[in-house]
């Protein structure tokens, strides 16, 4: 109680100090929630790409849209060590919008391969509705951010791909019925629309340049193949074997992909650390300053307390509690403000948001703020605790 009154007594200074901590923790919360978001995003990638082998046409890179012949799929299935392989067929959901910068994953349309969930370490589940099947036509399951962006429920219809503003006259759209909504994964599938392989092939064919379109059968083409290994099979070795044994295929080593995701994660860990250091400097200095003044002003009080029996640890504890309380208040306000800002910003972001405020982050922010207050208050508190009672009592 007394420490609250002590802070109240010196309102202006307390407000300034708490603001210092508040700004620091605010930065930590916003930066931290952004980093959290990306780490979850990257973790999804690590899980997904870590236990599968991505195969593309030998002339196209892993992430380019160079197509592959469907016959290659059967060849890959025949490679020793492959447990299962599924076609992937994907197109962007908003063609022509690539000039719009987004931090997250751009919306995409891809095929849902029934049975692949059994092999993949990355699990998706439905919030409601049913999955599309290979026989489905003009039906779609939507990721959570995709559904939220277009405000779609099960039973609604949606036109895909999304028509760009400067669409050419031959731009084709299809009317899909939403048959299922996918639970939030906090990673890539949130921005996906999942259709049958046949429908995805239709869309892929229509996305090709007109000259090429007339020469190929879209239902004989896939974007790539995902292969899963039998238990115990080294996937890097499997990728090499596929590349070697299937002349038209080029498989990427899972470890290479995982490594690139981890490298991305390190960047965001660095951002959080930088924010924490910022908080440490701004908040820490203001607490140190306030506590030094607080101790100086209360020298007589310290003398009195020692005279009536306060031991060193009593005085130390009292001043540390005061400093920690400032940390806690500044931390709580900074966190709430930061969280509120991220919610407000995310609400206006159609791609499903940039920030992820987790309980873990809340505990981290508050713990950090309290430790910051206590740490910064330590030196002044020790000075107070060691004060000689006679000198303290005689001071003016």
């Amino acid at each position: 109680m007394e420490i609250v009154r002590n802070l109240w007594q010196r309102k202006l200074r307390s407000v300034l100090t708490i603001s210092g901590i508040l700004m620091g923790i605010f930065a930590l919360t916003t930066m931290g929630s952004m980093a959290q978001h990306f780490n979850v995003l990257l973790q999804g990638g690590i899980t997904y790409y870590g236990n599968s082998v991505q195969v593309a046409d030998e002339n196209g890179g892993t992430f380019t849209s160079g197509c592959m012949s469907l016959s290659t799929l059967d060849e890959i299935r025949g490679v020793d060590g492959v447990a299962a392989a599924f076609p992937t067929v994907g197109v962007v959901a908003k063609p022509g919008s690539s000039d719009v910068v987004t931090f997250g994953i751009p919306d995409y349309i891809t095929n849902y391969a029934p049975g692949s969930g059994h092999y993949s370490a990355f699990k998706m589940s439905l919030a409601r509705g049913t999955w599309v099947t290979d026989a489905s036509r003009n039906q779609v399951d939507l990721g959570s951010a995709f559904a939220a962006e277009f405000k779609k429920q099960v039973g609604d219809t949606i036109e895909l791909p999304v028509r760009p503003g400067d669409a050419k006259s031959d731009f084709v759209i299809h009317r899909f019925t939403v048959v299922g909504l996918i639970n939030r994964t906090l990673t890539a599938p949130d921005n996906g629309a999942f259709v049958s392989t046949h429908d995805a092939q239709t869309l892929q064919g229509e996305s090709m340049p007109a000259a090429l379109r007339s020469q190929v059968d879209p239902y004989q083409l896939v974007s790539g193949v995902v292969a899963y290994g039998r238990p115990g099979v080294n996937l890097d070795a499997l990728a090499d074997r596929i590349t070697r044994e299937v002349p038209t295929a080029k498989a990427a080593k899972p470890s290479t992909l995982v490594q690139s995701f981890k490298a991305g994660g390190a960047v965001f860990t660095f951002i959080t650390t930088a924010a924490a250091v910022l908080a440490l400097i701004i908040g820490g200095l203001s607490v140190v300053n306030t506590m030094i003044m607080s101790v100086t002003e209360r020298v007589r009080e310290i003398g009195l307390k020692k005279a009536i029996g306060a031991k060193t640890h009593h005085i130390l504890t009292e001043f540390l509690a005061e400093a920690s309380l400032m940390g806690l208040i500044g931390g709580a306000l900074g966190f709430l403000l930061g969280a509120a800002l991220t919610v407000a910003l995310d609400a206006g972001d159609p791609s499903g948001g940039l920030f992820l405020v987790t309980p873990h982050l809340a505990v981290l922010s508050l713990g950090f703020a309290i430790a910051l207050g206590a740490g910064a208050g330590l030196m002044p508190a020790i000075r107070a605790a060691r004060m000689d009672p006679v000198t303290a009592l005689r001071s003016q």
Binding site: E2, R5, Q9, E301, I308, H314, V390
Partner: protein, 242 residues
């Protein structure tokens, strides 16, 4: 057993040649229940003497015995412990904490001594009554006059039931009438509870209303005068004006 005893109490400040000999070998014994005044000119060593007896400072030489314990052998923790349980302090400037109510100020020593808070609260209420401020327990120091603040400080000094209360010019900041009332209050408490008082004052009129007057000069005890009991009885019966 004497409440307090000092033997050859000596205190030097600083190093030669600028050394100040504040106390130069003082012997003194105060019995349980005695009310003693220390008088002497400014700089004669009164405050130094009280600081040593109150265990706030270690003497250069000599011994301070409280309840028969040689306090020089104790470490700082033990001395703090002894201070909180055996000694009450009253200061010239009251030294109440401005952020606390009168009641909380009186209870402050409990924070460091530990002990039954409920019993202490009952004692605090009795003490507030005793000093005539039962209706002011929720007031803050700024809402009280100097005399009232000192009465709260007296109650605070007694909350842990000490054997000895030390006061360095506790009547130095108030007017003559209030000073007289404060002394009367302390005398009455002393008469009722047998707690010993050692009070510094420069007012000989007030000093003459105690049991005994100790006179210091240049760090030496030069006079130790026990007053006639009749005079004391008269003061005690006069009590405190409320």
């Amino acid at each position: 057993m004497p409440a307090m005893r000092v033997e050859g109490l000596t205190k030097h400040y600083g190093e030669p040649p600028h050394q100040v000999r504040a106390l130069a070998g003082v012997d003194l014994q105060i019995d349980q229940g005695e009310f003693v005044a220390i008088v002497g000119r400014s700089g004669s060593g009164k405050t130094t003497m009280l600081d040593c007896v109150g265990l706030l400072m270690r003497p250069t030489a000599g011994r301070v015995l409280l309840d028969g314990v040689d306090t020089g052998t104790l470490n700082e923790r033990e001395r703090a412990e002894l201070r909180s349980h055996r000694i009450g302090f009253i200061f010239q400037e009251f030294n109440l904490l401005p952020t606390m109510t009168a009641m909380d100020n009186i209870l402050l020593p409990l924070r460091y001594s530990g002990g039954d808070r409920k019993a202490a609260r009952t004692r605090a209420e009795a003490l507030l009554n005793e000093v005539g401020l039962a209706d002011r327990s929720h007031h803050h120091p700024t809402e009280l006059s100097g005399g009232e603040q000192q009465r709260i400080a007296i109650a605070r000094s007694l909350i842990n039931q000490p054997t000895l209360v030390l006061g360095d010019e506790p009547m130095g900041e108030v007017d003559t009438e209030t000073a007289s009332m404060l002394l009367g209050l302390m005398r009455r408490i002393n008469g009722e509870s047998q707690v010993s008082f050692l009070i510094v004052t420069h007012d000989l009129e007030l000093a003459s209303r105690t049991d005994r007057i100790i006179r210091l000069r240049d760090g030496h005890l030069i006079d130790d005068e026990r007053l006639a009991p009749e005079a004391v009885t008269w003061v005690t019966q006069a009590g405190v004006r409320r």
